[in-house]
């Protein structure tokens, strides 16, 4: 089957999951299982799509911005499924799944020339470097969504708006804890990715890592600062704002830096 077709089927299931999660938000007593199955089904189909692409390229499909975004969307979906099983916080779904859909759709729409991978980008070290980086971005996207939810819930608490969203969104403390976990995971995984990337670059490149390396260090610094301040009185709104700043940095790094400033990380 055409790999794109699998991808679109996955998107259809994600759309179903989004509709169901909105329904769950309005009527929290509807069973959770259909939502889990829709997300799980979408992930399986998208994985099949990514695998088909990988087989054709003999490499993880991240050399094009499309392939990279598809992998990003898939990892974000996987993180959401993990959250559902671990914390059963379904209220995050309606806000997070649109990002999964957005990245997956962009992954399908953006051009993906079927060129085989360069010889230097083959091998486990490089694959792990990029996969971990994308996983870290997924964790930071999660943190971004949680931060938005934190700000919304805090605003409602401040204004004593106790409507539907107020009753459905988790407590501030719960959102803050989930956010902390997301950032911790993202930070650790990005750290590993940078180290792996540096080791790989030393073997392959003739000069020191480029602008992308700088932006990764900046991202690490922002999120590291966030965790540090979180333990020193910034807990809550300020941490949420910092996380949003961190996410804009990631989007900048993912697009502008990759496309215009980085010779070695350019999508091609």
């Amino acid at each position: 089957m055409d790999s794109h077709l699998l991808g679109w089927f996955a998107v259809a299931l994600y759309l179903g999951a989004e509709a169901y999660s909105i329904l769950s938000l309005v009527r929290p007593r509807v069973p959770a299982l259909p939502g889990h199955l829709l997300v799980g089904g979408g992930l399986i189909l998208q994985f099949a799509e990514l695998e088909t692409r990988a087989r054709a390229l003999h490499s993880v499909p991240y050399r094009t911005i499309g392939g990279s975004l598809a992998l990003f969307g898939w990892m974000l979906g996987l993180s959401y499924l993990a959250l559902l099983f671990r914390h059963r916080e379904r209220a995050v779904g309606p806000f997070l799944i649109p990002f999964v859909i957005l990245f997956s759709v962009l992954g399908l729409l953006l051009p993906q020339p079927g060129l085989a991978a360069r010889s230097d980008t083959r091998g486990a070290l490089f694959a792990l470097h990029v996969t971990f980086a994308i996983l870290a971005y997924a964790a930071f996207t999660f943190s971004f969504v949680l931060s938005l939810l934190y700000l919304i819930q805090k605003r409602q608490l401040r204004r004593v708006h106790t409507g539907l969203l107020f009753s459905r969104l988790p407590a501030l403390d719960v959102i803050a804890r989930l956010n902390r976990t997301s950032v911790s995971i993202g930070l650790s995984v990005l750290g590993v990715s940078v180290v792996l990337g540096a080791i790989w670059a030393e073997h392959v490149w003739s000069r020191l890592p480029d602008a992308k390396f700088g932006s990764a260090i900046l991202t690490l610094s922002v999120y590291g600062f966030l965790l540090w301040k979180d333990r020193r009185g910034w807990v809550g709104e300020r941490v949420a704002l910092l996380s949003i700043l961190g996410f804009t940095l990631i989007i900048f790094s993912y697009t502008v830096v990759n496309l215009y400033f980085s010779a070695q990380h350019a999508f091609r």
Partner: protein, 420 residues
């Protein structure tokens, strides 16, 4: 449906909607009085079955009367029992029969007829009413099923709608807000300033919300100790208030102090000690106990009594929006109950029982050789007619209506006639 069966189901009630508090007080029943009244009503043959629901907002007698004149029987009984003038009873009571009586009970159990729409306490009171009636021996199939169905309707309404979800009391709202800041409150500390009526109410709510050992501070330390002892909390002297504030996640204040009991400086200092961890203040005092500008301190949430009242009003409106869905559930349950009640009539039961016998006969005949079937059919028909003749004759001839219904119910159960 047998209209006569349904028509014999009657309700005589007094509720806050039509009867003033003085009348309601006089017709209110204690648990012992309920037992006594039901026993007396049944023994004197005035009703065949009965249940009394008595709460501070209503007293209602549900009965299955031998004939359709239950209203007079019950008002006369009440008049004698309570020494009330019959005209006074007639002027303040309401009377429902059949499906209307059933619907009323289902609405009561669902909280749709309550002063605080959707309140849950009434469901327990309906359950308790059935339990008292059972102890008095005044329930059989009809009342038993009626009240079980009412409880089921009440549960469904609460599970399938949001009618009981939004709290209405300021104490519940206060702790709901605290839960939205802190999540699970069992690991949170609560400080209650003031051991008066409001402080006591909130201390109890804190314990109900899962808080362990709320801290109580009061100017008169002995009152703080009393309240702490009654809720399993800990009393702190007034001089220890400043030290207690930084340790508390939730501070409830309800004193009659003319000045602020907790100032912004104190809160800022507390937040430094807490390294920015959130604090929530519930200020129930008028004039206010907590300086209003504490809300400007980072991660501090503060709510006045007016804020909580405003939420209560919003929640009342939200509950009201759920009424149409709740009424639909009541209608469904009512339909189910009336269908069951109509099946309790003798004629459909006999018809269904005969049909069941014919089904069993045909099953057996299918296994017999074709040549034998006609002869065997006659034999089996004669046999089943003989077997059923005496039980059905006795069931039809039973003079006591309640016992007759019991027998019909037993036959339906034993032969699984409700399966169809």
């Amino acid at each position: 449906m047998s209209i006569s069966e349904e028509a014999r189901l009657a309700l005589l009630g007094f509720s806050f909607r039509g009867a003033g508090a003085p009348v309601r007080e006089r017709v209110a029943f204690t648990a012992d009085e309920i037992r006594e009244a039901l026993t007396s009503l049944v023994k004197r043959g005035l009703i065949s079955e009965g249940v009394i629901v008595s709460t501070c907002h209503r007293s209602e007698i549900y009965s299955l009367a031998p004939d359709e004149g239950a209203r007079n029987v019950l008002t006369r009984f009440l008049s004698e029992w309570r020494g009330l003038d019959q005209a006074e009873i007639d002027g303040s009571c309401f009377y429902r029969v059949g499906g209307d009586a059933v619907r009323h009970l289902f609405r009561v159990a669902s909280g749709l007829d309550s002063l605080a729409l959707g309140e849950s306490e009434v469901l327990g009171q309906v359950r308790q009413a059935l339990s008292l009636a059972r102890e008095s021996g005044s329930t059989r199939a009809v009342m038993q099923r009626l009240f079980e169905s009412a409880v089921a309707a009440g549960k469904r309404v609460r599970a399938e709608t949001e009618i009981a979800r939004h709290p209405l009391s300021v104490a519940s709202i206060g702790f709901e807000l605290a839960r939205k800041v802190f999540g699970d409150l069992s690991r949170r500390s609560v400080l209650v300033i003031g051991a008066g009526e409001t402080g006591s109410l909130f201390a109890r709510h804190a314990v109900e919300a899962g808080v362990r050992e709320p801290v109580i501070v009061n100017r008169t330390e002995s009152r703080a100790r009393e309240l702490a002892a009654s809720v399993g909390g800990r009393a702190v002297p007034w001089s220890g208030l400043a030290a207690a504030v930084p340790l508390a996640d939730v501070v409830v204040s309800a004193t009659s102090s003319p000045q602020h009991v907790v100032t912004r400086d104190q809160v800022e200092s507390a937040m430094r000690e807490r390294r920015g961890r959130p604090m929530l203040f519930l200020d129930l005092a008028v004039p206010r106990d907590i300086a209003p500008d504490v809300t400007e301190v980072y991660n501090v949430f503060s709510y006045s009594i007016d804020d909580l009242e405003e939420v209560a009003n919003d929640n009342r409106a939200r509950r009201a929006q759920e009424v149409p869905v709740a009424e639909k559930i009541v209608d469904e349950e009512l339909e189910n109950y009336l269908a069951w009640l109509s099946n309790l009539s003798v004629v459909p039961t006999v018809t269904q029982l005969r049909r069941r016998m014919e089904e069993l006969r045909d099953l057996e005949l299918d296994r017999a050789p074709a040549a034998e079937r006609e002869r065997l059919r006659g034999l089996l028909d004669a046999f089943s007619a003989r077997i059923l003749h005496e039980p059905l004759r006795r069931m039809k001839a039973e003079p006591d209506p309640a016992r007759k219904l019991d027998r019909v119910e037993a036959v339906r159960h034993l032969f699984d006639l409700d399966r169809e």
